[in-house]
């Protein structure tokens, strides 16, 4: 029981960078812009954040630098795609490759050096509550922030006027324009905001969960983050569930390493990615026409809840995702 609690707490913590990255991407994609550079900008931000924190000795400088890098990459993507009308996916992909290599090149002097890390900070009083205490309140500030970010993004998207406009940008920017919304400017804003969150996700690795810097430090989690946003239906809560699921799979894989000593270690590193894709693909299969036909054959009392569940799973992409907007 005690062990399970520790494991669960570790999973909640390990998912924090993914939460930052996926929430950033969700905001950006909900406004209609795909930031495909996510993996690259996360790596570059991890490196810059670590370097800045090491040089200045200040963690906040490190995180600020990382957020700045993420925002800057988003700005470049915005300038090329929103203002100059280039393909978001093509530019994003090239930026991902560029930032990855840039991080390896610029980060070489910092590889495998010790550096500052976010200190453990249990919440006084609350960390002693049984079960909830060790699970939620004995982490560090960054992890707490990831817990708060999720409801905050949800609240912003679904409960505020600005969030309503943001969603309109991704669904039908012509409508937003007709109502006097500065479409391009707002898309820049949300893209840069999302980019900054992606940057923080990078620094969350290098300054907290996987302290230090090494070649390809984040090991492709950026790509999984992109997949989680898509399969999570662009809805914060479901995206978050995906993040925690992936972290749990990773924990499971590292645990099985001791059980199966004959297996090469690479298998355990890669397995969570494969499993995650399989899980997500299965979920998507449920909402396919074939599955719908199978469902229709079910007896009535079973069919309705099943159909409602599938309808809940099948959330369409923002209708204008990836499409450039031109004022008439």
């Amino acid at each position: 029981m005690q062990q399970l609690l520790i494991d669960l707490a570790a999973v909640l913590a390990a998912a924090a960078p993914l939460i930052f990255a996926t929430m950033g991407e969700t905001i950006s994609e909900r406004a209609g812009v795909i930031n495909l550079s996510l993996d690259g900008s996360m790596l570059l931000a991890a490196m810059v954040g670590f370097a800045a924190a090491s040089i200045s000795g200040s963690l906040s400088v490190g995180f600020a630098a990382a957020a700045l890098v993420g925002a800057l990459v988003a700005l470049i993507l915005g300038a090329l795609s929103l203002s100059l009308g280039q393909s978001q996916t093509a530019v994003g992909f090239v930026l991902a490759l560029l930032c990855t290599d840039l991080s390896s090149f610029l980060g070489a002097p910092y590889a495998r050096k010790p550096g500052p890390a976010v200190p453990h900070a249990p919440v006084p009083g609350m960390s002693d509550i049984p079960v909830i205490g060790p699970l939620l309140f004995s982490h560090d500030l960054l992890i707490y922030a990831s817990f708060l970010l999720l409801p905050a993004v949800w609240w912003f998207l679904y409960r505020t006027r600005a969030g309503l406009v943001l969603r309109a940008l991704g669904e039908r920017p012509q409508t937003a324009y007709a109502r006097g919304v500065p479409v391009i400017r707002l898309r820049y804003l949300y893209m840069i905001l999302g980019g900054a969150l992606v940057g923080i996700a990078g620094a969350a690795y290098s300054l907290d969960l996987k302290q230090g810097w090494s070649y390809r430090h984040t090991f492709g989690t950026g790509w999984i983050a992109l997949a989680i946003v898509i399969f999570g239906g662009w809805q914060p809560w479901r995206v978050a569930i995906g993040c925690y699921l992936f972290a749990a799979l990773q924990a499971l894989a590292s645990r099985s390493q001791s059980v199966l000593p004959g297996m090469p270690t690479q298998v355990f590193q890669v397995a969570p990615f494969v499993l995650m894709i399989v899980v997500l693909a299965l979920i998507n299969l449920l909402s396919s026409p074939t599955a719908a036909r199978r469902l229709a054959a079910l007896p009535k009392p079973l069919r309705h809840p099943a159909e409602r569940f599938v309808a809940w799973l099948a959330t369409p992409a923002p209708a204008a995702l990836g499409q450039p907007f031109q004022r008439p």
Binding site: R161, T175, A176, R179, G180, P328
Partner: protein
């Protein structure tokens, strides 16, 4: 609020879309704007609502010149536009749509917005509830929501662009009632249309645009003689309402059937056609009438094999078509003309010649010369304004439709058309119907659906009326008049015309 334009000019390249237009739309009245496709109506409305900026001349609200940078500025000044395809967000609820980007003074809170929506809908006789998702509303309801939103955001002048396209007759009636009411309260209503009868019924004044210019003396009082307006719209020529070139057929029971449906049941979404027995006589035009989504689409798609019946038998000229794919229907001589030309009908960026190349049977290599010859023959034969190298996308709606008709092989035995003249002006629609009737006279069966009652009565030999998934018997068109047809569409006295009420299982 008075809206006027003075010497307004807008050019796109060498095209003068609006050329020195001066008009004055007084408050408290409904103003009709007539003109065929491409006459410059939409450009003028987009200039008035801030979507476009003029190249010359000025726009005046309440006699004060205004510079409209974007649609938001126009709405702040009190002018709102309802687009033909309402500009809303499909994923939102009606309430969210109302709130989206609305100024805070207009709708300070969710509760206020809910209130405003209910009150305005009640006052105008509209049927929109706050929690309806947009995706579940009809075009007519979405239009109503847009009108409510614009009024809530302070619009005192409303521009409606072809508002009766794609909405039911009942919705059009309630729209007209609401517009009259808004005008009587002092608002300005600008009603853009190419339907003469609607303008005559609704508007206080009418102006006609042709080739970017105002024709005649500008604003004219209503009523105006119909042939005069037609002459102004199309520039002289003969445009009296179409006399029927060919005698109406029908009534002769000896005609063999093109399709025979025996106890057909089919479903699409929530709508079910159940136990349908029907004989469609060969060589006739059958019009499908009814409110949007009453089952016409299901029948159309059944007839060309796009959906399969879940029960019953479909025969074509005696052959059982059970389990046949659309391709087999095509080899049997059935062609389908979809309503969404650019979605299901043609491949936008491909040229006319390439479309004919697509029709070439077999072989690995495109026979370019043959395709170009075919395209040239179609251009000459169907009066398409294009060259073989024009991408289909660059043609106007009427030319696209003619091109699609030209692509249908001569030996076609049956033609299934969904709204064959949607979005076309009067002249183009008439040209399309000329072709369709010629096909019929050559022995082809034509089945079409439309929301336009006049189109049904003008061109059909037989009419099938749909009401909530029920189908009338085959009514000879000669026996029908508009009032009776309108009643049937609304479900009044449907039982008497219901051909299979007895056969309908409980």
């Amino acid at each position: 609020m008075e809206v006027s334009v003075h010497n307004l000019t807008k050019t796109f390249g060498t095209l003068r879309a609006n050329d020195n237009i001066s008009l004055r739309f007084a408050g408290g009245q409904i103003h009709g704007i007539l003109g065929e496709n491409g006459a410059g109506k939409s450009t003028l409305m987009k200039l008035l609502s801030g979507f476009l900026r003029p190249d010359g001349g000025e726009i005046l609200f309440e006699a004060k010149p205004v510079a409209l940078g974007d649609p938001g500025a126009a709405l702040r000044a009190g002018v709102g536009m309802v687009h033909q395809e309402p500009l809303d967000v499909p994923g939102f609820s009606a309430l969210e749509n109302l709130l989206c980007a609305a100024p805070r003074w207009a709708l300070p809170s969710r509760i206020e917005a809910r209130n405003t929506l209910t009150v305005l809908a009640g006052r105008l006789g509209f049927s929109v509830a706050p929690d309806d998702p947009i995706s579940a509303l009809t075009v007519g309801q979405r239009q109503q929501l847009e009108i409510i939103r614009l009024l809530a955001c302070g619009a005192r002048a409303l521009i409606l662009d072809e508002p009766t396209t794609g909405i039911s007759a009942a919705q059009a009636r309630s729209l007209f009632v609401a517009l009259r009411r808004l005008a009587s309260e002092g608002n300005t209503v600008i009603f853009v249309s190419h339907k003469l009868d609607e303008v005559a019924e609704l508007c206080h004044t009418v102006s006609v645009l042709r080739a970017g210019q105002v024709v005649g003396e500008g604003q004219m009082g209503v009523p105006q003689p119909q042939d005069r307006l037609l002459k102004m719209m199309f520039g002289g020529g003969d445009h009296t309402p179409a006399p029927r070139e060919t005698p109406r057929r029908g009534g002769s029971p000896a005609v063999p059937s093109a399709w025979r449906l025996e106890g057909i049941t089919a479903r699409e979404g929530n709508l079910v056609l159940a136990g349908l027995d029907l004989d469609i006589p060969a060589g006739s035009v059958v019009g499908l009438a009814g409110l949007e989504g009453s089952g016409q689409q299901i029948l159309l798609r059944l007839l060309c094999g796009q959906i399969r019946p879940s029960a019953g038998r479909l025969r074509m000229a005696g052959a059982d078509m059970a389990g046949a794919s659309p391709a087999i229907f095509r080899t049997c001589g059935v062609e389908y003309l979809p309503a969404d030309r650019l979605v299901e009908g043609v491949v936008g960026p491909l040229t006319l010649a390439e479309h004919f190349a697509l029709l070439q049977p077999g072989g690995m290599i495109i026979k370019r010369h043959a395709a170009e010859d075919a395209a040239r023959a179609a251009i000459a034969g169907y009066d398409i304004r294009a060259v073989p190298d024009s991408p289909i996308l660059s043609l106007s709606g009427g030319n696209q439709q003619r091109a699609m008709l030209a692509m249908i092989p001569e030996n076609t035995r049956a033609l299934v058309c969904e709204q064959p003249t949607r979005g076309l002006d009067v002249a183009s629609a008439r040209a399309i119907w000329g072709r369709l009737l010629a096909r019929r006279d050559a022995g082809c069966t034509v089945v079409f659906a439309t929301a336009d009652l006049d189109e049904i009565l003008d061109y059909s030999d037989y009419v099938l009326v749909f009401f909530a998934g029920r189908v009338s018997r085959l009514l000879p068109c000669a026996e029908l008049r508009v009032p009776r047809l309108a009643e049937l569409i609304g479900g009044v006295g449907f039982e008497a015309a219901d051909g299979r009420a007895k056969a309908n299982p409980q």
